[in-house]
Point group: C2
Chain length 403, copies 2
């Protein structure tokens, strides 16, 4: 990797604190403080008093599915989960959807808006095999100098229903997927014990973390969650499991919810939410009080599932704020936390933050406070990734992805 020249950013307000200068050396934050002297051969940027945020974190998306930048997809899909799964598999089979090209388009758009760490779930199924994964692995490599992408090998069509899927997941991990994904062991697989035993068996054999989509509501979801926590504990996977969605936690009586949250906190199981406006959601503040890390993601963006979504994690923070009725400034700090520090912590991204030694992933926006950054979602004045300026005024620079 070529040497990165030092970068001095003058006059920025870290998360709304008083203005400082910030010196980046070797891609990391070296010093934060008043009136830093510029070292030799240093690139200097004037922050003009902008708000300084750490690089944004997208905790749950599906880069391989997106039609961002393509022809408009006319959505005429039925309302059930299984309608959407079947429709998508058929569409991708017929259209030859290019997961490599599309995931790159969207990853670049995320970077331009300040997302420097991202977890994406990639469909592994017996129709497509590892084709989508191979495409997203290429994107992961292309983006690598600027954006860290974690790839989850995700059995979108279920683990048990289509024989051969488990082997494909195993192959996906061997081929470079970072995390093993799962999906509704009752509602989709119909045999939760066999499904989860198989899934955790693969994770154990490959020594990989897990991220399980759990859409199941109410008591069914709580039952599946209990089975997941049993296996997390039995296999010593503390701090290595995330639950995506976890709608059931928003349905349960308080005592039952609290018991599950206490257990999740003890086992270091994180919760990933898209904060959907039309579904039950895990109780954010109760989760945090219980010690459960909650982080946010878009879920799918402009795909056959949904026309919504935006590679702007400040917009996702706003939607989370609206979903949880966060109005006070101290509450909006929590909304930002879900797309920054909590995101990095919950997903295991290292060297994250605005302190000395952290990887220099930085976002400058013209906002007076963190709360304003969340509700107004101002253009990204500057994005720094791994110590290099990669985007300015919302547009990637030509050499943003240079190795």
């Amino acid at each position: 990797m070529p040497t990165i020249p030092p970068l001095l950013i003058r006059d920025v307000r870290p998360l709304g604190a008083p203005p400082v200068d910030l010196l980046v050396q070797d891609g990391r934050i070296a010093t934060l403080g008043p009136a830093i002297a510029a070292p030799a051969c240093c690139v200097v940027e004037d922050g003009c008093g902008a708000l300084l945020l750490p690089g944004l974190v997208e905790g749950h998306t599906h880069l391989d599915k997106t039609m961002w930048g393509m022809d408009w997809y006319r959505n005429e899909v039925g309302p059930r989960l299984v309608d959407r799964i079947e429709n998508e598999r058929a569409f991708r089979r017929a259209s030859g959807h290019d997961a490599a090209a599309q995931s790159l388009v969207l990853a670049r758009a995320f970077l331009a808006q300040g997302t420097t760490r991202l977890r994406t779930h990639v469909d592994i199924d017996t129709d497509a095999g590892l084709r989508h994964l191979e495409g997203v692995l290429r994107t992961q490599e292309t983006m690598n100098a600027a954006q860290q992408i974690q790839i989850v090998a995700f059995p979108q069509s279920g683990l048990l229903g289509r024989p051969g899927t488990a082997d494909l997941l195993d192959q996906a991990l061997a081929a470079g997927a970072d995390v093993l994904g799962g999906l509704d062991p009752c509602a989709i697989d119909g045999d939760p014990v066999r499904s989860l035993d198989l899934l955790f068996g693969i994770a154990e054999r490959r020594g990989r973390p897990l991220d399980i989509h759990l859409h199941e509501p109410d008591a069914m979801g709580a039952f599946s969650l209990g089975l997941i926590l049993d296996r997390t504990e039995a296999l010593g996977l503390q701090g290595r499991v995330a639950i995506s969605h976890g709608f059931c936690l928003g349905d349960l009586p308080e005592a039952e919810c609290e018991a599950l949250l206490a257990r999740m906190a003890r086992l270091g199981v994180a919760l990933v939410t898209s904060a959907p406006a039309a579904r039950s959601v895990p109780p954010l503040m109760r989760c945090r009080r219980a010690g459960v890390t909650v982080l946010a993601g878009n879920d799918g963006i402009r795909d056959t599932w949904t026309p919504y979504g935006n590679p702007d994690m400040l917009e996702r923070a706003m939607l989370l704020g609206l979903r949880y009725n966060l109005r006070r400034d101290d509450e909006l700090d929590v909304a930002l936390d879900c797309v920054t520090a909590a995101g990095a912590r919950g997903l295991g991204f290292e060297d994250y933050g605005l302190t000395t030694g952290c990887r220099a992933d930085l976002v400058l926006v013209d906002a007076r406070t963190v709360a304003e950054a969340v509700v107004a979602r101002p253009p990204r004045r500057l994005v720094v990734a791994g110590g290099r300026v990669v985007a300015r005024d919302g547009a990637l620079l030509p050499d943003a992805l240079a190795p």
Copy 2:
């Protein structure tokens, strides 16, 4: 009023239909069709194949409260409705908040984003008297050539609790407010029959329509709604009453909800929703099937109540789409309807639409479909109000408000 020159807009797609030209004469839509010949002295605009929408309709906001463009307001307010009411009254008393200046700033921002019709609730209370109303009346007059503003005289601090409020409401209608507002006759006023009798008495005496904030949940809200419908029927106010929020309709058992909706449809009572992500909401599709007009508004924007809100009604349509889980293209047409035709119909704005004879309130956006306009909220390429171009690329023109 000076004569407005004819305006010919070439190559636009009305709500996604095939491209046509559109000729405006005397401020109204004169012709829509292929290859229209330009009359003498005609202003010609090239629509470049843009999607053509009718002027957007904001059905419920509070222009007088906003701090749009001001210093950041640090929100440290308690969580109850009464906390927010008390906090705001104290803040405005102490700060001398300028309702004239602030309502104008926000009304202009709405116009720049294509909103040509707007209903705003203005606080009338015994602290401020008619001061906020006088400010918003000035804005109404200033905007009048370009944007139709309906002003609701709104007893934000309750009708019964602070003696003198009813007289002030009466004076507000005499002074130029268009609509009489109301607020939670049980939860705020504590005496629903006396409160509603007093309110409807003023409306009857002044011959004005009503728009009543109903936050009350569950059975309490249904009870108040029933009392409102009784009075609507008894006084022959069919088609003259709107219910804002109506959260209770999202809480009720189906049969009870259906009975209320059937009665609302019969009495022409419209529902206005901000589609809040964190509250119960009236069942949109069930309301429409029952024949109840549902329209959308921001509610407050960047004020002491909430840091959220945006004078972009396409964003509100998106939030409504997210709240009601509208994913199919035909469902997103409904989201747009709530900020266009249903809005105008429910609030009684006349001469509205994209057909010959309608007032030429037009919005051009670069989107392939209505669904894309809602989810992507593209910049407004052109806004026409009353037959004149008033904004381009999201910015008002210098003479936008000329009489």
